[in-house]
């Protein structure tokens, strides 16, 4: 019950923050790009040839999201949310309120996950808007009469979510530690870029153990068969860094 109260408090804080708007804007990036592309060049090639335009649009979105946008979104959101307290100098009010430290910590982590889920849901809602617009713009394809593989979309999203759990916990810890906005973002971007290179460019055997490589594993023919193992590892990293993060958070009483 006390965790729910703390979570509610966290959700109220994020109302009208850049973190909330950023989630919605970030979720609209791929659908908007897709729409511009459709307006300029018609349906994507994959949609035309497969004669499966709805699933083709969702596939495109899932690829771009899982590899690039979603990990970057997590890196930024894990910094933006703790910044609410740093920017307003409200840590002392948080710590003098009758909340357990573990509730504060977990509630903040859960509020990030709520935004992650919102991001994924919003992306798909926006894609549906693009599908609807395309249906009326390109009546010859009769888009809405094609099938939609909801199971595949759900599976793709689950992979995207699970493979980023480790990154999320690490970035959350760094975000809580740093009053400076740039440092956690820079660390995250560099490590994500390195991780993606390790998988796609160097095809390194270390990549299934490096959390920042995990989002790219799904897109590598060499490593995709180890996706289950990677997702479990991601889950393990998440617990490990949450434990480290909490012990650090508990130790530091006055976060200025």
């Amino acid at each position: 019950m006390s965790l729910i109260i703390s979570l509610r408090s966290e959700i109220l804080k994020s109302k009208r923050t850049s973190a909330f708007y950023f989630t919605l804007i970030g979720a609209a990036v791929i659908p908007f790009t897709l729409l511009v592309n459709i307006l300029a060049d018609g349906l994507p090639e994959e949609g035309k040839t497969s004669k499966d335009p709805i699933n083709a649009m969702f596939n495109l979105s899932s690829g771009m999201n899982g590899l690039v946008l979603f990990p970057l979104f997590i890196i930024l959101i894990c910094t933006l949310l703790p910044q609410i307290e740093f920017k307003n100098s409200t840590w002392k009010q948080v710590f003098t309120s009758p909340q357990k430290k573990e509730d504060i910590f977990v509630a903040k982590f859960l509020s990030i996950h709520l935004l992650m889920v919102l991001f994924l849901v919003a992306t798909h809602l926006f894609i549906w808007v693009v599908v609807l617009i395309s249906h009326f713009l390109l009546p010859q394809f009769n888009i809405l009469h094609h099938s939609f593989d909801a199971g595949k979309v759900l599976e793709d999203n689950a992979h995207a979510y699970l493979s980023t759990l480790g990154i999320c916990a690490i970035q959350f810890w760094i975000g809580l530690r740093s009053r400076n906005f740039i440092i956690p973002v820079a660390i995250g971007l560099v490590l994500w870029f390195l991780g993606t290179l390790l998988v796609l460019e160097y095809k390194s055997s270390a990549s299934p153990y490096f959390p920042y490589s995990f989002p790219a594993i799904r897109f590598s023919p060499l490593f995709s068969s180890r996706l289950d193992q990677v997702e479990w590892t991601s889950f393990g990293y998440s617990f490990l860094f949450l434990a480290i993060g909490f012990s650090d958070f508990r130790r530091r009483r006055k976060l200025k």
């Binding site: 703390s6 804080k13 109302k15 003098t96 357990k100 009483r253």
Partner: protein, 303 residues
């Protein structure tokens, strides 16, 4: 005597290994009192209050709040405390009401309590204006509203009049007296201005460079001040005046003679002595007895 609401025993704290910020502070705040915690900036007031609220870790000595150690039941103790430490702690992107809503359920306060505390601090009509557009005084008032939200048994206010205009300071003083009188709230209020708090406090603690110089009731403090009261005299011949008033431990400095006095009758006698010896008295006035002077008196009385 009541059990104290706050009791510290030989509380010491180091921000760094070399620098002792607090040295053996024995603070005792009685239930139902308004305790003025006085000291110049950097004397250790905020550090002491932060330690009491558990914002700083690992002090030497002990702290008891409501008769128990804070960490034995942190949530239970903090539920009974409203606090404002240093600058206002508010979410700039939210309205006054939304700021209070963030903590309403945490403190178990009712929705009606939000309007009530906003009304108490005079912010009942700020509507959809976000806090970042508030003046410093408004932010300070909202912070006080937040501290009042749980209807606390103990209210800890660190320099609450910062940013308030003179009218706001008077209103705050009346509010504090009212909360103490009508709600039986124990209030610990820190300030660097004696004049600001002496009109409302029942007890005073004075801290300087991390050491407690004085602790007692306001009347104890007034007795002390009376003992150390000084008169400033300026005459046509200050050296002769010093000779004539040597029983009053005169000090001739900055064009004035400073002398000790204990009663108004003594002032009349001093004036008579000077005029009877042909000296013209240009000025005779009590020396300003502000906190700075009090610190000097307290420090010299201890040395």
């Amino acid at each position: 005597m009541n059990n104290p609401v706050i009791k510290t025993n030989a509380l010491s704290y180091y921000y760094s290994a070399r620098e002792k910020t607090l040295s053996e502070i024995n603070l005792r705040v009685e239930r139902g009192s308004i305790y003025g915690f006085l000291g110049p900036n950097g004397s250790g007031k905020t550090t002491t209050l932060s330690l009491i609220l558990g914002l700083l870790d690992s002090p030497e000595g002990s702290i008891e709040v409501f008769g128990q150690h804070l960490h034995s039941d942190r949530v239970g103790v903090l539920k009974k405390i409203g606090s404002l430490i240093e600058s206002p702690s508010l979410y700039g992107h939210l309205t006054a009401k939304e700021n209070l809503h963030v903590y309403r359920a945490v403190y178990g306060a009712s929705k009606a309590r939000i309007d009530e505390v906003l009304h108490i601090v005079g912010l009942g009509d700020t509507g959809k204006k976000t806090v970042r557009k508030f003046s410093l005084g408004m932010k300070q008032r909202l912070s006080i509203a937040l501290a009042l939200l749980p209807d606390p048994e103990l209210l800890i206010l660190d320099e609450p009049s910062n940013g308030l205009d003179p009218a706001g300071i008077i209103e705050l003083r009346e509010l504090i007296k009212k909360l103490n009188r009508e709600h039986g709230m124990t209030i610990l209020i820190s300030s660097h201005l004696l004049g600001e708090v002496e009109k409302m406090v029942t007890h005073v603690g004075i801290i300087l460079k991390g050491k407690m110089l004085f602790q007692g009731t306001l009347s104890d403090l007034h007795s002390f001040q009376q003992k150390g009261a000084k008169l400033l005299v300026n005459t046509s011949d200050n050296n002769t005046a010093c000779e004539l008033l040597r029983d009053h431990q005169p000090e001739n400095k900055d064009g004035h003679v400073s002398i000790a006095f204990h009663s108004l009758q003594q002032v009349a006698k001093i004036t008579r002595t000077l005029t009877q010896h042909g000296l013209d008295v240009y000025l005779i006035s009590p020396q300003k007895n502000d906190l700075e002077q009090l610190f000097i008196d307290l420090t010299s009385s201890q040395s």
